[in-house]
Amino acid sequence: MTNTSKPSGKGKYLRRLALCGAIAALGFAGAAAPALADGDAAGQVAMRRLTQDQYKQIVMDVFGPTVTLGGRFEPDMRDAGLLAVGAAQVSVTASGFEQYDLMARSIASQVVDPEHRSLLIPCKPASDKAPDDACAKAFLGKVGRLLFRRPLTQHELDAQVAAANAATVKTSDFYNGIGLALAGLMEAPEFLFRQERVEPDPDHAGQYRLDAYSKATRLSFLLWNAAPDPELLASAESGEINTASGLKKQVDRLMASPRLENGVRAFFADMLAFDGFSTLAKDTTLYPKFTSQVLRDAQEQTMRTIVDHVMVENADYRDLFTTRKTYMTPLLASIYKVQVQFPDGVLNPWVPYEYPEGAQVAGILTQASFVGLHSHPGRSSATIRGKALRNIVLCQKVPDPPGNVNFNLVQDTNNPNFKTARQRLEAHRTAATCAGCHKIMDPVGLAMENFDTIGGFRTTENGAPIDASGELDAVKFTDVPGMGKAVHDNASTSACIVNRVYSFGTGHAPNKSESQWISSTLATDFKESGYKYLALVKDIATSDVFYRAAPPQTGALDTPSKLASTGSQEVQK
């Protein structure tokens, strides 16, 4: 990652950052990096394991909502701030495979059961008890194209039909046979991994680009967090997607679809680390308001706030950290201790809500999804929150505390009752070994202390009044709206989202050439758009760089294509 020039006057702070080893992820729009021609930037291709949400989405898209999933998923892995990047590093463990196997067979048995088969299987076998090549081929070819996000090769299709036939013969049941073959498709690496393929770029000699199906797939997952729909696959098959106008047509179509909301939600759920909610626990003896419904509502509140803000209102992304507009459910309103009128007779109603001017909020940062997720089970944590803000919103890495730190230094046993978090952390921050990092985490985290570990509003802790003043990168503030404003104005805030959206789409942290293109072109465009999230996504989706690939390391480029229908070639990455 590069650390381009920063405005002067922050040298003192930067030295602290350097001391701490923190890395500012990116420069910001307008930085003095030399602008590169687009043609110089190219990233690597990725082999990404489907995330849980993507797997679920594909099953729903391909087989409909009445097919249910059994089993559990392997934990996703976070890298460079995103599960979408970690997905390019994980494989399938043995116990994970066991679960994929269970899920695939459970899904497949539903697809071929008498209730679903007439809808989902395009043909009827001559006999229910014997193999039927034509019908197996029709079904497996159709569903295989959707699952593999490309047509099956003749060789693959023949192998699948043979497997279905063998299974049919062993159990004397045609539907069981194609069901098991379908399960096999869903256990295949071509389904579980999004393996990208490259081909020489005819418009730029010596350079490479994703092949049409990989391009369609990257685009579809960026915008919808789902596999390409039949229309997008058709556009890949015809090669239309390789033309600028064809690509624009598809981008416009995908962005006009209501499914764009899925993509927006998926990106922000990933960036905001909402996967942490699956294991978030709070001490309900101390915080009886915290129920599983609150957990769901908290995530949905932030998602609604974001979708409303960046899609419906098409507002400045940075305002997400200052906005007073949000949505409430009865339980959330009780957590935040605000009065809301809810419609009668609606189960768990969602109601738009705007905090009054001057309210002690900082957009999504003071929602339970942030202050609650980044806390201990039984108490808030300014340090965890400060670190999360740096990592998640500003794309900065705060290192772990050093080893062999004697916390006795900061433990005055004669004065054991530090009442507020500020008092307790003050002690940490005066110890030389801790100061470097705590000074970049705590002052911003302490501004959120008006929110307890479940996001409940409070003005005192242990009877002592809470002081919510703080500092972010030399910008001082006295309360949490001031903190929100400081985050809004911080150059890293906009640089971070540009970086993250790009990484979300490509599955890797940008390399040097990509970073330069991002900071010179993407970030500038983003600024000029008024920091509009959708403009950023569209900018990426229609750019050449997004689909460009670094030259393959070694190659079988002269190998004739196996995908006869497109002429694309498989090469080593």
């Binding site: 419906v312 009865p330 809301v340 009128q341 809810f342 569209k538």
Partner: protein, 389 residues
Amino acid sequence: MGHAKLPGATRRSGAVSRGLALGAVGFLAAGFAAHGAQAETRGYAVSWFYMAAESQNDDCPQGTNPLSEEMATKYMKAMGKSDAEIEALKKDYPANMYGPMYMRGRRDGKPVNVYADPTSQPDPNIKTAQGHVAYGFDLDGKDGPNDFVDPQTGAKGVDDMLYRAVGCFITQRASGGQRPTYPAIQWDMTRDQMPAWIIEVSGIERDAAGKIKDGDVKLGIYRATGPVTRNAAGDPQADMSFTVDSNPRTQNVVHAVMKNGTLTTDPFEFHMIQDPFAVTEYHFKKTQIRLALNDDGTAKGVLGGYQPWLPIYEGFALGGSVNELNLSIDAPGIYYALKKLADFGPDASGQNQYISSSYIIEAVPGFISHPNADKTSMVSGPVKLAATH
């Protein structure tokens, strides 16, 4: 987007705007220091409402009423069943006893449903409480031999004949701030479905230290449009928002006097709807309420008044023999006791129709809106997708 500009911040200054009565919570006390002169309104949701009991060791000198098995045995004997028959009925107790207990009444020698017709069995003369300690108020201005002393206030002449009637059933007894079992069950089983009872105290003033000043306040008790929600501990969630149901049968507004953080109302008539499992519709006369507003935002107090005794019996009888045999009460016995101990509102025959009674109120903080208030926040439904980006 219809973002309601609800005055969430103004509650800190104590102002009430656009008819929205704003509940405040304990932690806001500090905020009032600077605005001591302004009146504050606090909202609550009733978390518990149940017959009061502060049972004493000696207030049932002949012991408490028998447990259900003994009671059932006695009734079966009275119905002429043999010992062997009774032993058979007691197998898998109380499963086989529900039916015979139900039809233990006799009219013209034929079995009848005793709960629908309580005088179809003779008065069992249940044991009634004889003590002199009970929560409540001196409703008649007299301190008679049947009256109590309130354990909290020390007030004499307290009228609570309901406790005398039912106070020797073990499931009606409690002390030290505990909730008596049967009344607690009655509330607990109904509160998830019935619209919440909500309380609003307005006109509260505070001194510079944030302490509630003595003086006049206004108490409103209403029914909300929706029920309470339970939290992770199974208790009603605090700080929920409620809307007042405009039904006139559930509107109660009364002047009260605040002293040392506890308000006491003038006498008034109290109307409220609950549930047939307890009392379908309360109608107390000469009602008084005292309510302590606690620093942690909760409130607890006592309601006392005269209420018709027949609906109280109906609440006990509704569960029939299931209630009798599982909670050791004697429904027809309660009928006779209530009738005998009723102490107010005689009909033409001279039979009193009302009985003095005291109930405990417990409440958690909540926000209360009145139906005529700004409803712009009630735009609901999924997030719309913009037509253009």
